[in-house]
């Protein structure tokens, strides 16, 4: 049975035109019924529709902004900012070491939601000067809310409504948090190949670590921290959809890219590693990156670790 996240079904954006398509509630209910997911169907059944049975887009946006605001609390509590910085710091150090002196760097967060990571990096200036910070999301309401929040706090970053597979913003480094599991089958490799084909020198995508305890941990956390049933449902569904280390490394096995996973299963305590990253770096960066990581680079492994 396919696992669906309700938020992926109740808002549909055309990937080319970026225009939002009307979503009929009955269509979503049918998809969920076919997947045998009665709980999700009950949640969707409560969402308001117009006379034609189309989900009210304003209500859906309000709901998703509310759920993403709660999701940000999880990111804060799990110290996602520090976790990302733990790798991005050394990665940028390696990039600066090999780049032209004074070159401006650009970090693009793909599927940024409310842009917590980008706004936090902007607020703390943790990456140092000369790093432009941009967030992109396919959902116009989330990208718009991220921009509003950044403006409200006077943060030096911007947000763009765009598709991850057709990015208008060239980057030095692409990052993401909690996005990879949304890309199923060949889409995962296509997503990474598009970045490998760009002028970017690295990508660093954090996603839920797939371990046997992940779904239980996700249940406890989303139950304890999220109020809306949609957030609780999607939190557990996303944990079930998490890609394994092997799947990620296989998808990132692209010419001109050195695929690495940090803190894979077996090298990290699953209670300490809720999100772990898949990295793809240009091969010349590996040595300076490992040097900048110091002892922690032991936990950085490539596909050879999983070779039979």
């Amino acid at each position: 049975m396919p696992q669906f996240e309700i938020s992926d079904l109740i808002t549909v954006t055309d990937p080319r035109s970026l225009r939002r398509a009307p979503v009929r509630r009955d269509d979503v209910l049918r998809t969920l019924a076919e997947a045998g997911n009665r709980r999700a169907a009950r949640i969707v059944g409560t969402l308001p529709v117009d006379g034609d049975g189309v989900l009210d887009p304003a209500a859906v946006d309000r709901l998703l902004i509310g759920v993403h605001t709660e999701l940000q609390r999880l990111s804060e509590e799990m110290r996602i900012g520090e976790r990302v910085l733990h790798l991005l710091g050394p990665l940028l150090e390696a990039i600066r070491e090999t780049a032209e002196p004074g070159a401006r760097l650009r970090l693009v967060d793909i599927g940024c939601g409310l842009g917590y990571l980008v706004r936090r990096l902007a607020a703390t200036r943790a990456l140092g000067p000369g790093v432009e910070l941009i967030g992109v999301d396919l959902d116009a309401a989330l990208a718009g809310e991220a921009a509003r929040l950044a403006q409200a706090e006077g943060l030096d970053c911007r947000f763009v409504h765009a598709n991850a597979f057709d990015l208008p913003e060239a980057a030095t480094v692409y990052v993401s948090t909690g996005v990879l599991h949304h890309f199923r089958g060949p889409a995962l490799a296509e997503f990474l190949q598009a970045q490998a084909a760009s002028s970017a020198v690295a990508f660093c995508h954090f996603d839920i670590a797939a371990t046997p305890i992940t779904p239980l941990g996700a249940w406890v956390f989303h139950r304890a921290r999220m109020r809306h049933p949609l957030g609780r449902h999607d939190g557990v569904a996303s944990a079930r959809r998490a890609h394994s280390d092997e799947t990620l490394l296989h998808a990132a096995d692209i010419p001109g890219i050195r695929p690495l996973v940090y803190e894979p299963r077996g090298l990290a305590n699953p209670f300490c590693t809720t999100l772990r990253p898949l990295l793809g770096i240009r091969p010349h960066l590996e040595e300076p990156f490992r040097r900048a990581m110091g002892r922690a680079s032991r936990r950085l492994v490539g596909p050879e670790r999983f070779a039979a």
Binding site: I65, R73, A224, M226, F271, C272
Partner: protein, 169 residues
């Protein structure tokens, strides 16, 4: 010794945390120290008012008792059992919080995953357990007082959330 003072102190601390929980997840800004403080004070204010209910209940129990001295002793027994139960919980929360704030991010994730997250879910169960031991140690009047105290503790977060944080800020 009467357990009233430590119980009231724990009740007030819990109310401030309830205010924080009522607010948490409703504010997507990055800098929010003042908002956190305001939410905790709101919890404290609402919680202080609600704590009057178990205090008044205890007073009513004493005033209406035929043998006031015995009723007082039974309330102290029940209150002490209730206190021990929630103090053990409070200690676990305090240790998890200290670990969360002091340790580096990996270990602090551990404190969150096996400490603070599950402890939030356990809170109503701990209060229920407190009522049970209060009943066993101090009889029905103790159960009445501890049940009103537990209900007040649980209601604080709901009231603060509905009043101030029902929508994202």
């Amino acid at each position: 010794m009467t357990p009233a003072l430590p119980l009231a102190a724990l009740g007030l601390i819990d109310a401030a945390f309830s205010g924080f929980r009522a607010y948490a997840g409703r504010d997507a800004r990055i800098r929010k120290h003042r908002a956190v403080l305001r939410a905790s004070l709101r919890g404290l204010a609402v919680g202080s008012a609600l704590l009057l209910v178990p205090i008044l209940t205890a007073c009513a129990v004493l005033l209406t008792a035929t043998d006031q001295s015995r009723a007082y002793d039974r309330l102290v027994d029940g209150g002490t059992a209730y206190l021990l139960c929630i103090a053990a919980y409070a200690l676990a929360v305090a240790l998890s919080l200290a670990a969360y704030f002091v340790l580096p991010f990996r270990a602090s994730t551990l404190a969150m995953v096996i400490g603070l997250g599950p402890l939030t879910l356990l809170r109503p169960l701990v209060l229920a357990a407190g009522c049970t031991v209060a009943l066993a140690a101090g009889g029905w009047p103790s159960l009445l007082v501890s049940a009103t105290a537990g209900a007040a503790a649980l209601a604080t977060e709901q009231i603060v959330h509905r009043r101030w944080y029902s929508r994202p800020l």
